[in-house]
Subunit: 302 residues, 2 copies
């Protein structure tokens, strides 16, 4: 049985279109309405047959929706919420998919009308590709979806949204928004910035050409390039909206890197061996937790 | 037709055992002799039927070998070359597989007898796994193998070694040892150290638990853990033996990271967007060059 009668997706990129696909495939809602600002992206969504109703104006698709999910970059969720606010159905749920939660709450909460349940959510899943055509229905399978309910979110609405994400394949975790933002700063935002930085550093070298970097990238560099191929708008907004936690993680990372650099300079083999040994097991634990595939080299070669 | 009659592999980890497998599978040599210091590893190699002749003492397997390849950590190649020096067959080739070339030449060259061709080599290929059982015969297919011949290497011997590595599946590049070490410092050694460092930083946090890092690792963190699962001994030796080039790349990386950190602190969205945009194309170029697979998320999900 469907969890909701109608859902409205505002924004139809990788995450929005993956939600549309899994909802359609598993009949999690009876009706899918899609809105996106750009007519071109909307046309792509129509061509992919992702929904039942399409509009460039989000106010037009939310009026009878039981669940509205904002799947846009973080920077615009406040503006959109303000725009659709008076059109939301009493008793409905409004949620999002952003990788940052404190800022999303600050932006959206002031515009949530009484009687509408606001439950921020973050499905921790994705790929380096963006746009509606790159979504796929199994994206959320066995990934975690973190809910960070605000005080006014009703228990019944939280239960329904949990049920929705579980039907999409996710495991559910409830968390404080502040804690979420620190957890994601280390598990997602820092690795992302580091990947962008390493690719940028390589790109700038005068003594090693780009074509050499590309040719010999199998030495380890190509791993970094996956994250560095992600959507720049999305990641700019993450940086702007999770500034404090990201700066803390960057500072810690830099301190640790200085210590490693010192060990290299002083040829401290023992210190290097210790650092390189303690990090070895964490991958095994991630595989055991079902969050990584158990094949070497990401299964590229064997 | 076989390129060599007999090859001798000293060290039988991921690379050595992959050479043994491809040589056997494609009949690149008629006879494979294997030596490794530890009886336990040698027993593993015997159980895997990787060779035709086995010994813990390398001097015992090189006497009639046409090609000797050192597949050990960088730290011991000098000592081993000295030990086998007087046992090498006149006219034979001695090579290695290390990720650092200047230090390998400094360590090995003084012990190379007249009439033996010393040709340092580096197949740019690998996985995060180590040990003989993790090798596989296609590891070198379509990867680059860099030769850094010394002055005394004969042209005929260089041709033969090229033929050997081509038969193993590799493309060949000839390079100066100093340049090789800078190219690998950026394409391999820096990404490796950064991966170790990011996993170490995450492991040290007091406010985010390890089990949270593991659970939400799909946000990007798990990519870093692949490289950080690599062999600590090998990487300690790389750091100790390519110190100057690694320190230069670390310094450049840190400068760039400070600039990025500043852009985050001052909420400079334009600067961040620029950094995040210029790195996007390099992955496409690596895919086009055949050095990466063309599936999103390393093919994990779809």
């Amino acid at each position: 049985m469907a969890v909701f009668n109608k859902i409205a997706l505002i924004g139809i990129g990788l995450i929005g279109s993956s939600i549309a696909r899994v909802v359609r495939e598993r009949s999690i809602a009876n009706k899918i309405a899609i809105s996106t600002r750009s007519q071109q992206t909307l046309d792509e969504a129509i061509a992919l047959n992702l929904g039942d109703e399409y509009h460039t104006d989000p106010t037009k698709i939310v009026e009878d929706a039981d669940l509205v999910i904002l799947c846009t970059p973080i920077g615009v969720v406040g503006k959109i919420t303000r725009a659709i606010s008076t059109h939301l159905k009493p008793g409905s749920i409004i949620s999002d998919v952003s990788s940052v939660k404190v800022s999303v709450i600050e932006q959206m909460l002031p515009h949530i009308p009484d009687g509408v349940n606001f439950i921020p959510a973050h499905p921790v899943a994705g790929t380096e590709k963006s746009g509606p055509k790159h979504g796929f229905p199994t994206l959320f399978d066995n990934r975690w979806c973190i809910l960070t309910p605000v005080e006014s979110s009703s228990d019944k609405a939280i239960e329904l949204l949990k049920e929705f994400w579980q039907a999409c394949g996710s495991n559910i975790e409830i968390m404080e928004a502040e804690h979420h933002d620190r957890v994601l700063a280390i598990t997602s935002h820092l690795p992302q910035l580091i990947a962008y930085n390493i690719v940028g550093t390589a790109d700038d070298l005068e003594t090693v050409t780009n074509s050499e970097v590309i040719k010999y990238s199998a030495g380890g560099f190509r791993d970094s390039t996956r994250l560095a191929a992600s959507d720049p708008t999305m990641w700019r907004d993450v940086c702007l909206h999770n500034k404090e936690a990201i700066l803390e993680m960057l500072a810690r990372f830099s301190e640790d890197l200085s210590a490693m650099q010192r060990a290299v300079r002083w040829a401290d083999g023992e210190a290097l061996f210790d650092i390189f040994t303690r990090t070895r097991n964490i991958r095994r634990e991630i595989i055991d937790a079902g969050q990584e595939i158990d094949v070497s080299n990401f299964g590229r070669d064997e």
